[in-house]
Structures are given as structure tokens and as C-alpha cells.
Symmetry: C2
Subunit: 222 residues, 2 copies
DNA sequence: GAGCTTTTTTAGGCGAATCTAAAAAAAAAT
DNA sequence: ATTTTTTTTTAGATTCGCCTAAAAAAGCTC
């Protein structure tokens, strides 16, 4: 029941790639893990032997139930540590991912459950991603891309799908943060940029590229 | 400037063994690290190449200045994490060492300095051992073995030199903890056991073996 | 469906950290 | 000063995670 850091990173990467496409390719994994396809093939064989993945040569890969469970445990650790780093130690959004990439491999289950308590059992990490609970259940968070928000409807920013320092710089410049109330006031056909207000402030224009990474919650009519 | 977990464990072990005997033997290291002498020799060569130790075949080993500096950084991390686990997450003394053994290898310097701030820059870990500061300076703590305390003089327990669950069980049974005021009320020649009072309570008898692991601070007359 | 391109796997190797068995050096005993 | 014992090092393997180069399979294109 104890896996190497390397194996845990593979399992987590497979989990994330499965969200895009239910069958994960060797190349996609190699890209994600910044390694070579040949190395991935080697590792897939080992993960298969340990029953963490379904794998047949040339057919791509999928997590088994136990692989999925393991992935959720690692993600839980990653996100709880990120929350800790931001909320308790005052780190910025963009700094925490790398550190959490190490902390997520600390093995003590008791540690993570106590940390969860200490932090007040948060539902989401600093980027708005949901934190699986001790049983591996991921809170379902209703969110839609800001770009799909109709003009004139207010909605709260609940997550961002990019955590680069560059993007966070830009958000900071526009004074946009998780929780900010956003409203689209105008759309421009030419480059699909949008004009929005932040917390009812003056309108600012943001690119489609930025908007695509912002996710908001708004009441659905049904 | 980044070393493997294994190398860090060697450096820390050498540091601790140097406290006993300034020149550390291959066998002593193998015992401490639960590994084989042949493995130790291999590793010593590598640590020597990296200038972390002074090493000549058959002559034992000593940390260089940079080895010593590294050891203190690792010990700082270890003890700060132990403090965090006990004070913030409510772990018992005896549970934290093993977890800290992993956490001490998390590389971010910024993380550890912020953790230090968050914890209020503690001077000692939960077992009373001093925590080196960011510059690697170890607070000097005046302490003497309880066994050397004269009869009738009160002194405060400031550290214990054994962290086994068994010993902590026994301490808990006698309601002795770090900070308790202890006074020797009687000494018995036969087995060198001693009778003490804890916080001015009723006298209890403890073995020489237990007493040897308790360290107290008391005013020296000079 | 034959041929070209892309993806994936295999083959062979390397560095890190470990091991066992054997040799060599140092230390202790006689 | 030998001999014996203990300590330490060397030699040779193994496992893990990775690599490059080459082969094989799958997927496209005409
Ligand atoms: Mn992250
Ligand atoms: Mn990781
Ligand atoms: Mn400890
Ligand atoms: Mn350690």
C-alpha cells in the first residue's frame, strides 16, 4: 500500500488526463510528466502489475478502481497542503503548486486527516479546485466558463484553470481574485475579448484567452 | 545544493554520531541507518566527492563545514515540523518523529522559514531539543541529567533523550511532562532508583534508567 | 490496400542506492 | 611478533527510474 513518489506522480497524471479523454496515451503521459515515451511504457508495465491501471500494449491506459482511489488520496493531500500554504503561511497562489508537489508524497494518513481538521475541512484549494474528502469523494462544484456567461448577469469567480505566475500577475493587475463578483458588460466580435466589471467597479477588457481560464458560479434557471 | 533524501539522512546521522565521538565509524553509521557497512562505504565516497565530509579509507569520517551546515538545516526542518505536529495538529510526542523523518526532506527554504514564523519561532522541539535558527545557530540550552540533581533542589524538566512510546507512556503515568517541576526527595543505593516529587505532588519512585533520560534546568551557583 | 507517418514498444545501457560474499587493513590478543 | 578477531573496503549483483536508438504496430492517405 506504499508507492514511490514516481509512481504516485504517474497515477495523478493519469487521473488528470482521464478528465480530458477517458483513455490516456503513452505520449500524453510523457508530455505531462516531462519524460520520454519509452520510460512511460516501462512504468505502465509496473503499474499494471500492481493493478493500479488497466493496460494493454498499444491500447492506452485507464485507472483501475484502486488506482483511482490512490489518485484521489494524492490530490487530496496536494490540495490540502496548498490551502495550508496560502491560508496559514501566507504564500501566493502561484508559489504553492511546486511545494505541494513534494508534500503530496508524505505518507501519513493521520497527518492529512488532522491537517484537514486543522484547516476547517476546506472544500476547495486556493485555485478553486475541489478537495476530495477522507473517503475520496470529490465535492461537486457547479461552475461554468466565464466566456459562457450572458451579458449583464453577475457571477462569482470560483476557480481558475491555469496557475502560472504570469496569469496570476494579470489577475492581480485587474484586481480579480477567487470570490470576485464578475459581470460581462460587452463582447467584441473581432478578437472575442470581453469587457467586464469586477466587484461592480469600472469596466475592464480582458482577452478571450484569459476569460477561458476563469470559472464562475451562477444560478441556473431550472 | 540539492541532495537526495538518502544523502540527507547520512549527513544527519553523522552529525548526531559526532556528538558522541568526533570521529564517526563506518559500522556506527551502518547501525544508525539500519543498513550495511558496504553500503555506507559506497555512500561515504560520494559524500566525500561532494565535499560534505572528510573521509579517508579506514580513518572514519567527520562533517566538513558545509556538511555541518547542511545537517543543521535538516535538523531545523525536522524539529520545526515536530513542533508543528504537536502544537498545531495535536499529535502525541511519540508519533511525530517518524513523520518528521519524511517532512525534513521537503526542499523549500521559504517554506521552512515561514513555518518558523507561523509557529512563533520556537526555541525547542516537543522533546526539548533545541531548534537551529535560519542561520544554523543552535540555541544553547543549559541542562543536566536529573540523576545529577542534588536532593532537595527543584528543577524543571526541559528535555528527554528517548522518545519511545514506551517511555512516554511511563512519563504520562507519572504525570511528568516537559516543564514539570521535579525535586529529588530520596535516593536508593540498592538499584539507584530515586524518589521524586512532580509539581510538588506526592513522591513517586522512578528507576535509574528513566532518570537517565530526563534533563532539567536548574540555577547553578557561580 | 500499399505506402508513409506517427505512436508505441523493445533492446540495451546508465546512475543511484542498496545487497552479499570475499579480500584487505587495522586492532586486539597471545 | 605472530596470530586471531574485528572493521572496513572491494567486487560483483540487483532494483528502480530514467535514457537513446531501433523495431514494430497502428493510423492515415491516396
Ligand atoms: Mn496544484
Ligand atoms: Mn508530486
Ligand atoms: Mn525527532
Ligand atoms: Mn529523514
Amino acid at each position: 500500500m506504499k508507492y514511490s513518489t514516481s509512481k504516485e506522480n504517474y497515477i495523478k497524471a493519469i487521473y488528470h488526463l482521464e478528465q480530458e479523454d477517458p483513455v490516456v496515451s503513452t505520449n500524453a503521459l510523457a508530455r505531462q510528466l516531462a519524460t520520454k515515451p519509452a520510460s512511460v511504457t516501462d512504468m505502465l508495465k509496473k503499474l499494471h502489475e500492481q493493478q493500479l491501471i488497466h493496460y494493454e500494449p498499444y491500447k492506452g491506459v485507464q485507472l483501475t478502481d484502486s488506482g483511482n482511489k490512490l489518485a484521489l488520496q494524492i490530490i487530496r493531500k496536494h490540495r490540502l497542503w496548498e490551502f495550508f500554504l496560502v491560508e496559514k503561511l501566507g504564500f501566493g497562489w502561484e508559489e504553492v503548486h511546486e511545494i505541494a508537489e513534494e508534500l503530496e508524497h508524505i505518507s501519513s494518513k493521520k497527518l492529512i486527516d488532522r491537517l484537514d481538521d486543522f484547516l476547517g475541512k476546506p472544500k476547495t484549494d486556493p485555485h478553486g479546485d475541489p478537495i476530495p474528502d477522507a473517503a475520496g469523494i470529490v465535492p461537486k462544484i457547479e461552475k461554468r466558463c466565464l466566456l459562457d456567461l450572458p451579458v449583464g448577469i453577475a457571477a462569482d469567480l470560483i476557480s481558475v484553470s491555469n496557475q502560472s505566475a504570469d496569469m496570476l500577475d494579470l489577475l492581480r493587475h485587474h484586481q480579480i481574485e477567487i470570490g470576485s463578483r464578475l459581470k460581462i458588460t460587452n463582447r467584441f466580435r473581432f478578437d472575442r475579448s470581453i469587457q467586464i466589471t469586477v466587484q461592480g467597479g469600472p469596466p475592464v477588457t480582458i482577452s478571450e484567452q484569459l476569460g477561458a481560464h476563469l470559472y464562475v458560479a451562477w444560478a441556473t434557471e431550472d
